[in-house]
Amino acid sequence: MSAPSPAVELRHVSKRFGAVAAVEGVSLAVRAGEFLTLLGPSGCGKTTLLRMIAGFEIPDAGAVLLGGADVTALPPHRRDVNQVFQSYALFPHLNVRENIAFGLRMQRRAAKEIAARVGEMVALVALEGCEERKPHQLSGGQRQRVALARALAPRPAVLLLDEPLSALDARLRQTMQLELKRLQRQVGTTFVFVTHDQEEALTISDRIALVNRGRIEQIGTTQEIYHKPATAFAAEFIGQANVMEAEWVGNEPGFARLRVAGIELRVAAEAWPAGVTRARVSIRPEKIHLGKTRPLGGSGFEVRVDEEIFKGATDRFGLVTASGARLIAMVANESALREAIHAGDRVWCAVHADDIVVLRESGNERGQPA
């Protein structure tokens, strides 16, 4: 039995706009029924990737497959994908009902069937009572729902969403993130979502494809992306990270010994690429455990607390090592009774070997990403 075809597959697609390479040799497979997010800074090529799936851009090289069929040459109106546009792009001369019915009318469905499906979609996005309104009579959130209902009504195999929440205010945005995730589970359609907001990506996705400079930097589940960033870009773009140069100084049973910012640390032997002497490593701020006393096992190191920022649920500490390297650590404010650490204190740090992530260099790195 062969594995089912991916809902969307990009094979070595490239696209240039004049002298600018927007996408360079990207391959990507989106599984049927998953919520995949293309995440990256603005101008990284994520929207171009989405537009190639929709058919608005033709790749200069490579192929686009939908459900295993090559659609590279098919125009957008012949592809079984629908898009939710960043500006919503609701038809201003049509009311909510007519907007939602548009795709079904294009499929020349029977009037009865269209009416039933529109009713179903209106209920799905909770817009009952707004059917006769024109787009300009709706709030931003309502327009967003209409755009969603309109795109889902013809039952596309894949729904593409181009930063659909970016025009909403922060509160509504968070509500809509959860609603979108719930909706995706409910309808079971494959969602390909584009955003530059890493928090949003972590909240709503099953998997994230991190896009940088026209290439996919890393693809994985939200946990994988967060806990095992592959590159410095991945580590720094998602959440916060201490990214430092590490030098291999020797092996011991089960571990590789590294010198990082003048401190000796250990990582699991298999985490360190064989034959490499230098690489960058990433440590998440919350993985640095602070204490007033030397931790057991002797793997700790001493630092000076340089600054202390109270952030409510967490405390953020700026630390300086003996060699002068700066680190940040994040400590959850679980209890007011926790022993207080203040700026100027000397404290001990402990980092678990598994929490030090060895990074590879980005394939196309031209200087450090900002």
Binding site: A54, G55, F56, P75, P76, H77, R78, V81, N82, Q83, F85, Q86, S87, A89, L90, F91, P92, H93, F102, G103, M106, Q107, K134, H136, R150, A151, P154
Partner: protein, 290 residues
């Protein structure tokens, strides 16, 4: 402060009237006064020598009801309507392509639409005569191609008049539609394609409804002046198919020399414009969201 602002909005103060004065003077001098003179003439009478005696007579308006003039009015409206329809059919795709063209091309193509305006209107009309006359360029070409045996009778026919009118007014249809189409959000076109709408249906279902304000403006700018046109009908129709413009011209500067009657015709004609304009505005207002 706020209250002062709103009251100022409700009742313009002397400063506002002062600012409006140049506009009001302009309107008075160039719109109200000529119209008033025209209306005054339309109620006047003419003696045997062609002199105008002012008074209040409805006789001029009564004469318009004469079958000859009704026919002229009907013909003018018909010709203008055909011209408008042809301009719409030709102009819509051109305007749409202009709006969709890349920035570079758009400016060049717009220039092509405008270039005819750099030449005198009469010269351009004479150019058409050169093309259409019996021994003209078109007949010459067709004869040379052996497509025809004898020259076609093209000039001084209703077709020639329509050709001339369409040529003269096509840019006035293209430009307002282009203005509307250019403002159309490209994402709407993409959304239509995305939802399974092919290029032709997108044009009919999205582009046309959303550019109607420009289309109505185009209709107005073609239909209204086309009704009153006299130069083209004279030159290319050979005065065989007089339109209302020719009749009015004849009353003022031609052989008929009946200014009061000409004025009455012009007033009726003006009211016709106002009616068309009002109808189009109302339709546009219905379409346009508040």
């Amino acid at each position: 402060m706020r209250a002062a602002d709103t009251s100022a909005q409700r009742r313009p103060g002397w400063a506002a009237w002062l600012l409006l004065t140049p506009l009001l003077v302009w309107l008075l001098a160039f719109v109200v006064a000529p119209a008033a003179i025209l209306v005054a003439y339309s109620f006047a009478e003419r003696d045997e020598l062609g002199r105008v005696g002012f008074g209040f007579s409805l006789e001029n308006y009564g004469r318009i009801a004469d079958a000859t003039y009704v026919a002229v009015f009907a013909r003018s409206v018909g010709y203008a309507a055909i011209t408008t329809a042809i301009c719409a059919v030709l102009g819509y795709p051109v305007a749409w392509c202009l709006a969709r063209a890349s920035e570079n091309w758009r400016h060049r193509l717009l220039l092509l639409v405008m270039i005819p305006f750099w030449t005198s209107f009469l010269i351009r009309t004479y150019a058409w005569i050169t093309i259409l006359k019996s021994e003209g360029l078109l007949n010459g070409l067709l004869l040379w191609l052996h497509a025809i045996a004898t020259p076609l009778e093209l000039l001084y026919t209703p077709t020639a008049v329509i050709v001339g009118l369409v040529y003269a007014y096509l840019p006035f249809m293209i430009l307002p539609i282009y203005g509307s189409a250019e403002k159309l959000d490209p994402a709407l076109i993409e959304a239509a394609h995305d939802l399974g709408c092919g290029p032709w249906r997108t044009f009919a279902q999205i582009v046309v409804p959303l550019t109607l304000p420009g289309f109505y403006a185009g209709v107005l700018m073609v239909f209204v002046p086309a009704i009153g046109m006299f130069a083209i009908t004279d030159l290319m129709g050979g005065a065989r198919v007089p339109m209302i413009g020719n009749v009015i011209q004849d009353q003022f500067v031609g052989q008929a020399r009946d200014k009061p009657f000409g004025a009455a015709l012009a007033v009726v004609f003006m009211l016709l414009f106002v009616a068309v304009y009002w109808l189009l505005q109302r339709r546009a207002a219905e379409r346009e969201p508040a």
